[in-house]
Symmetry: C2
Subunit: 175 residues, 2 copies
Amino acid sequence: MGGHRLTHDRPGPAGQPAIDDAGPHPDPLPWPSRLRSLPSWLVGKTSSHAHRVTTEAFAAISARKYHYALLASLAEFGPSSQADLGRRCSFDRSDVAILVNELLEAGYVERTQDPADRRRNIVALTPAGRERLAEFDRVAAGIQERLLGPLGADERAELVRLLTRVLDHLGGVVH
Amino acid sequence: MGGHRLTHDRPGPAGQPAIDDAGPHPDPLPWPSRLRSLPSWLVGKTSSHAHRVTTEAFAAISARKYHYALLASLAEFGPSSQADLGRRCSFDRSDVAILVNELLEAGYVERTQDPADRRRNIVALTPAGRERLAEFDRVAAGIQERLLGPLGADERAELVRLLTRVLDHLGGVVH
DNA sequence: TGCCAACGTTGGCCACGCCAACCATAACAG
DNA sequence: CTGTTATGGTTGGCGTGGCCAACGTTGGCA
């Protein structure tokens, strides 16, 4: 995310279809069985799909999934410093700065200097931000549906449980 | 992976610890509950950990996980063209070219021109490649152990089953 | 008072996944 | 046979994501 990123506009050639490769269905061959039974491989592939689907779904409403994380954090824990936002969402400070600027520009948050500690910025949700978060909730629900399609409610819960335990063990969660 | 990548050496400053931030334990705050219950978020975080652990483990034996995929494919399906390798492991053609060069340089595969179709390269495992693959198997097993730590055998199998179903539904697997 | 830590900001790096272009070769249509 | 289309391998490049380094500002503490 770093660098002078502020621009996530993709001009794109938008020209004719490519001269060379075109087919969107290059008939995928089966994976090696060693990979098919490797949890780390499966998690990576699933994450890759999830990332693509999520990015597209949020882009369709001119948003980014990272915005969802920040607004969700603000809604649940109240106005926070950017450092706390980063800790809660496990984002780097520098990335939080950019994301907050984006949200600020769209009017979903407001940023004020903490009078009690003039190093801190206090980022707070605006009413428009609360509405945006509700929209994000709907988008996120649709994404889960598209991703987990055939899984029943109990299986989805089981998946969440297993992943949560793994993450907990890896020190990524509450601790 | 694209570009003139052939170099995955990381020089690294290796200097003193940073002047600014130092603490490796920035006391992680709990995630927003909206994210904690979002499968796509959990999968992404798990994948992130898995990627890091895997990359480190393979780097420790001067390898990359992508090498594992290619050698596994060659061992299971026999000598293949680079295009088939890419389809089987879902790698881009350009990335396969580089990976094969790396494996070639290390002596784990050999590359010959297909006499029946002079466009194709036939990539085949060498005896050293088979030994290397066995080493990769051991490393991969260790990685699963580190990642899935507290999960029992049945839970790991359930996780694999759920992820496989999701991937199947997403069109990423056999179909 | 002086030192160190934390915050926000800017700039940058690199791996990853992907695309575009190119040439050589093959397959196919007329 | 000939033109067209498709495939394979290679090189170069791009955009994103995650992260680090450095700096000025401010607060906490000895």
